[in-house]
């Protein structure tokens, strides 16, 4: 530890600390712009110059290492003169028109100019003009004359997002921040640059000139989009969500949020909102009062149960539903005598259900990822499925942790990978088995009998070696691994890998309540999320699900809904498909409008309050389900608040849920490759993943939202005999469509990658099923 005195206050800091670190410890504020605790030090703004005893010149606090016995003065005449001098330089070319700047009121430069700026400008020359740039639908670079060249955005790209999309071109005062000529900023984390920008140079395009920061009330929330439990501030004006910002939580999202978390709020104010309950009368949907709609539903469900048995009713919820909603839905379904309830619409293989010891989870806390020495991710489109989880792994790899990826798509995770295996989906269990085998061979111990014929290759040995090194290790199963037709085999193999290597095994989890759904008991005792469509039911209750986009086999799901006599949808939005298939549409609250609880992948229980009112007649879904329970005369539907519902499930909750365990007993490994001429690979594009982001306009204009193509390697195309075609007719189950072909040699041979969750592919079948491709 080193002794340091700052403005007369003594403290001790570890070796390697900077004066800025020490100042934060003693609570001395040193003005700064380019310094950011999560980014590398660049020392270019010079605002943090301070006086150091014995140093002839002022030194930048952010970059000057503390030496033992150092004495620092942050407000001495020398320091303040230097700081004022820098402030003057920063302001000479900066427009002094804060009242018309979108950043006004929340601008670091504006704030510090109050303390360090002069009241009159000595600069009387022409000011620099920097042209605006168009870098896509999310970030506005309309006002680049305001840039102070701190390069936070550049360093964010290089270090956090993993891709340098912005750079500083040119020299001297003509330096400007820009993309490579004509490119857009496409990172899934790009919005953070808006937060990082200390001035009004990078602003939010969707939010620009919509409101002033001081008009907004700042309310806490949690993101519903992925399993991370990202902490948010939702900013509201006149009962309308205007903007979403990160709420710093070092253990969860640090100070970042993904663009999906940041910009999905636009969907809340879209024209697709369902505002009144609707009931199908004589073939067409009519708006009715809640009492009529709920009576209709209660009677309809009772009728089906009486006539066809309870199991003729199936319930399916989105994994982004709140814990309370999932709990009440399964309770209602079970009350009707059905065990057919699920919250995992994209799952295919359910063999581990009821064989698990506890609820599947991440296996460790998010904050422990940085302590890992090796991590293996199986079956994930990391950046698109879990942008911030990928970011944590990226930082791990930057710090010499070994990260390996076994998956089916060739996308670039922007992580410095130790090893990578990309195989056809049908080969994924074999690839994982090869790593298990390699670990067993390296350790000279026995493993599962079923792996007798598996031969590890160089890549699997490399992954095995990374898992056998000393330290903490983890194997993570991604969304693809859970959606896979052999998900149970992958799960058992991962557990075996963990047993042999000492690695923790975890599920990254799809949806905000991937763990919560298990705690809520929203699991089938008969008829899972896939089977409920294989054997069509008479009645369906759908909570926040759009089956043609959210299900593993959308074509089959749509067909099953069509034949049902009663389809009840609890949804914040309406779509043409809903209007076509639903018998009852019940408008429910969307994200931010209802209180509720999310239990994230790491088991963190986070309850949030609703931050604004529901539009029209929409009501929080938990209340709708509770009233339905009353109307059906079921006991246990008397909760007065969502907290009361939650306490029924998890008691009086602590920080983390208990009962999390990835062990599974009595499920055997089945290594048999499905014989297919051509296999489909389905990714779930980041901005189509749930009903909210699908309707967020700005996100829909990004490069990640282009219509799906048939992505296939040149070799596969040649073997199919359609090498010279630009369009293809793809046929799967009973559906077919025409897509344009995108040649991508990273797609494994014998596979075609066609995204799920999009209207243009909603008639197709299984996400990883056999598919036919012919020239169109």
């Amino acid at each position: 530890m080193l002794e340091i005195e700052i403005d007369g206050k003594q403290t001790q800091v570890p070796a390697g600390s900077t004066i800025m670190d020490a100042a934060q410890l003693v609570g001395a504020y040193i003005p700064h712009f380019c310094y950011h605790k999560k980014l590398s030090i660049s020392a270019n703004c010079r605002m943090c110059l301070v006086q150091v005893e014995k140093a002839p010149k002022p030194l930048p606090a952010c970059a000057t290492p503390v030496t033992n016995g150092m004495k620092v003065f942050t407000h001495s005449e020398l320091a303040v003169n230097a700081q004022k001098g820098v402030m003057e330089f920063l302001l000479i070319n900066h427009p002094l028109d804060c009242p018309i700047c979108d950043q006004g009121g929340e601008c670091q430069l504006q704030d510090l100019a109050v303390g360090y700026g002069g009241s009159e400008a000595r600069y009387r020359e022409d000011k620099r003009v920097v042209f605006q740039k168009n870098v896509g639908p999310l970030i506005s670079m309309q006002e680049m004359s305001r840039c102070i060249h701190c390069t936070r955005c550049v360093r964010f790209g290089q270090e956090i997002a993993g891709v340098m999309e912005l750079g500083m071109a040119n020299r001297n005062m003509h330096s400007e921040i820009q993309t490579f000529v004509g490119r857009t900023v496409d990172s899934e984390l790009s919005g953070n640059m808006i937060d990082l920008c200390p001035v009004g140079a990078l602003t939010s395009k969707p939010f620009r000139y919509k409101a002033r920061s001081w008009e907004l009330s700042r309310r806490k929330s949690v993101s519903p989009h992925d399993s991370l439990g990202t902490n948010l501030y939702v900013q509201v004006k006149n009962n309308r969500v205007m903007r979403v910002l990160p709420r710093e939580n070092e253990d969860v999202n640090e100070c970042w949020i993904s663009d999906r978390d940041r910009f999905s709020y636009e969907a809340l104010n879209c024209s697709d909102r369902l505002l009144k309950p609707m009931v199908r009368v004589d073939g067409s949907l009519r708006e009715v009062d809640w009492s009529v709609a709920l009576d209709y539903v209660a009677h309809g469900l009772k009728d089906v149960a009486r006539t066809h048995g309870g199991n003729a009713i199936a319930s399916l919820a989105s994994p982004s539903s709140t814990l309370e909603e999932l709990y009440l839905l399964q309770k209602l379904t079970r009350g009707l005598g059905s065990g057919c309830v699920d919250f995992r619409p994209r799952r295919r293989d359910f063999a581990t259900d009821a064989k698990m010891v506890g609820a599947p989870w991440l296996g460790l806390r998010l904050s422990e990822i940085k302590e890992l020495d090796a991590a293996v991710v199986v079956g994930s489109v990391l950046r698109k499925d879990h942008p911030l989880f990928a970011q944590r792994l990226r930082q791990l790899a930057r710090k010499s942790g070994k990260v390996s990826l076994i998956s089916v798509t060739g996308d670039d995770p922007l992580i410095n990978l130790n090893a990578r295996i990309t195989v056809a989906p049908s080969q994924l269990p074999f690839a994982l088995a090869a790593v298990v085998k390699a670990v067993a061979a390296l350790k000279g111990i026995e493993t599962l009998d079923e792996l007798e014929n598996v031969q590890p290759d160089a890549a699997s040995v490399s992954i095995a070696e990374s898992l056998l090194a000393d330290g903490k290790k983890a194997v993570f199963l991604g969304n693809l691994a859970e959606q896979h037709p052999s998900a149970s085999t992958i799960h058992v193999l991962a557990n075996e890998l963990g047993r042999l290597s000492g690695a923790v095994v975890g599920f990254i989890g799809e949806g905000a309540n991937c763990v919560g759904g298990h705690l809520a008991g929203a699991l089938p005792s008969s008829g899972n999320a896939y089977d409920m469509f294989v054997e069509p039911r008479k009645a369906y209750i759908l909570l926040g699900v759009e089956p043609e986009l959210d299900c593993h086999n959308p074509g089959m799901a749509s067909a099953a809904l069509k034949q049902a006599s009663l389809v009840v949808m609890l949804t914040p939005f309406k779509s043409q498909a809903m209007l076509d298939t639903a018998d009852v549409l019940l408008p429910v609250a969307a994200f931010t409008e209802t209180s509720g609880t999310f239990v994230s992948a790491e088991g963190r229980i986070q309850s949030v309050a609703g931050v604004c009112q529901t539009p029209g007649d929409a009501r929080p879904a938990w209340k709708v389900l509770r009233v339905l329970g009353n109307l059906l005369d079921f006991g246990g539907f008397d909760q007065e608040s969502s907290e009361a519902v939650r306490n029924e499930i998890v008691g009086n909750p602590g920080e983390f849920a208990g009962g999390l365990d990835n062990s599974v007993a009595g499920v055997s490994v089945r290594l048999e490759a499905a014989q297919m001429d051509l296999q489909r690979i389905s990714d779930v594009p980041i901005y189509f993943a749930d009903s909210l982001v699908r309707r967020a306009n700005s996100l829909q204009e990004t490069r990640d939202s282009v219509s799906p193509t048939a992505r296939v390697s040149a070799g596969t195309l040649k073997s199919l005999g359609i090498a010279d075609s630009s369009l293809t007719r793809v046929v799967q189950s009973s559906g077919e469509t025409v897509l344009s072909i995108a040649v991508d040699n990273a797609v494994p041979f014998g596979c075609v990658q066609i995204s799920a969750a999009h209207a243009s592919t909603s008639m197709l079948g299984d996400m990883f099923g056999a598919i036919k491709m012919e020239s169109a």
Partner: protein, 442 residues
């Protein structure tokens, strides 16, 4: 190159004929004998560094830092690559000595770098050559080929077991790439912008490895020191200012060019070597060490000797040894305008005081020169230079500020005249009389 008969040159001796740069010619002049001696006699690295320290050799690139001391900063027991880098990014206005060393005597640099590599335990070196002297870059590549095929570079040099690879790398003409850490960034393929120090290159240099960067002329002096000893080198100059040095003389002299003289030679002698003042005019001012060094009034300059200490006493710097001679036909406001434009243009734009300050300085001087000066402009210039100096990442900020401060200090009357009268104190016809351009026209 011109060498005065009485003075014994070191760096430029024996450079006769068009083929003097060839390996064959260099060997005939006794070239590579220092490297051979070091390798054959297995002279210890410490001994070499000790000899360089003794020689009083100071960095010839501009800062004048003692070379032996710099070499001793390299970590001894470091496991892994270390680098020696030669800074031939000669961009300082007025300086043109390094390109002549590379043009006429490239093997002296190669030999010097190989010895430096041996002394500091580096097996790889780079010579970063200014981007605007392409033909010299190509010549150096040829010289490298010669040295390699003669077994004087590469693996196991002359059977000694010592490996040293040397590569030429050319920039694209940015002045800032002559700053040693910007140069390293540029070699690494990044934008040439200085790094914040600490860490210094000796600990975290090229590719994050310990690195020593020296000027071309510094390396070229090493063989001489090894051959004849540090004391002999020191005695060739004067105490604390060892050896000879090449001065690039430009401006209003009869014979501008490179002159190698022992440090400590009177300025008047140097001026005489360069053929004296053109047209016999009065020496108004001299910029003794390249455009970044403060200007010195002519009469003060005439009292100086050409060495680090004497020039420092006169309030300036020996710098890279670029002597810019200014006679009485020059308007000092116009001269400063040109200098300020250079620094404004060449600021890398990374840190605030330099990026914003250099453009502000230029705009003000430009205004004064064009008859739009204001009463408070000189005070403002002084204040701005004060806010730049010592507050930037690298020395370019200081380099931009020093000329402004010194010009305003020594020629304040000309600036005031400009502001008040909206024209030059030096009448236009006199300015034209002194200009080669206008005299060629008439």
């Amino acid at each position: 190159m011109t060498i005065l008969g009485a003075i014994q040159p070191m760096l430029t001796s024996g450079l006769d004929g068009d083929n003097a740069w060839r390996l064959e010619h260099y060997l005939k002049r006794g070239g590579y004998s220092a490297l051979k001696k070091v390798l054959a006699e297995k002279i210890s690295p410490d001994e070499i560094i000790g000899e360089v320290k003794k020689s009083g050799l100071r960095g010839r690139g501009g800062a004048g830092f003692p070379t032996g001391l710099k070499w001793s900063f390299m970590p001894r027991d470091y496991q892994g690559n270390k680098y020696v880098v030669c800074n031939s990014d000669e961009g300082e206005p007025g300086t043109f000595k390094d390109r002549d060393i590379l043009r006429y005597n490239p093997h002296s640099v190669i030999e010097g770098m190989a010895i430096a590599g041996y002394a500091m335990g580096a097996s790889c070196g780079y010579n970063y050559i200014h981007g605007e002297i392409w033909e010299i870059y190509k010549r150096f590549e040829e010289a490298l080929d010669e040295a390699r095929s003669a077994g004087l570079l590469g693996a196991n040099i002359l059977g000694s077991g010592f490996d040293f690879d040397l590569f030429a790398h050319h920039g694209y003409g940015a002045y800032i790439c002559g700053e040693e850490t910007a140069l390293l960034e540029s070699i690494e393929g990044k934008k040439g912008q200085p790094r914040y120090k600490p860490p210094f290159p000796a600990n975290f240099g090229l590719y994050g490895k310990p690195t020593t960067i020296n000027n071309t002329e510094t390396f070229a002096s090493i063989p001489w020191i090894v051959n004849l000893g540090g004391d002999a080198f020191l005695n060739a100059g004067k105490p604390n200012n060892g050896g000879t040095k090449i001065f690039s003389i430009s401006g209003h002299v009869n014979k501008p060019g490179n002159y190698e003289i022992p440090l400590g030679t009177p300025f008047s002698t140097l001026l005489e070597m360069a053929g004296g003042m053109r047209g016999g005019r009065r020496l108004k001012a001299c910029i003794p060490g390249g455009s970044s060094s403060p200007v010195v009034p002519g009469d003060v300059m005439m009292q100086c000797t050409m060495d680090y200490d004497s020039i420092a006493k006169a309030g300036s710097m020996l710098g890279s040894g670029a002597v810019i001679i200014i006679d009485e036909t020059v308007c000092m406001v116009k001269a400063l305008e040109r200098l300020s434009y250079f620094y404004y243009e060449e600021s890398c734009g990374q840190c605030t005081p330099c990026r914003e300050g250099t453009s502000w300085l230029y705009k003000i001087v430009h205004r004064i020169e064009n008859g739009n000066g204001r009463e408070d402009d000189l005070e403002l210039l002084e204040s701005i230079t004060g806010n730049i100096m010592g507050r930037t990442i690298c020395a370019l900020g200081d380099a931009a500020a020093l000329p402004v401060q010194s010009f305003v200090k020594h020629f304040r009357d000309e600036f005031i005249y400009h502001i008040e009268q909206k024209k030059c104190l030096v009448p236009v016809d006199i300015q034209r009389a002194g200009s080669g351009f206008f005299s060629a026209l008439s």
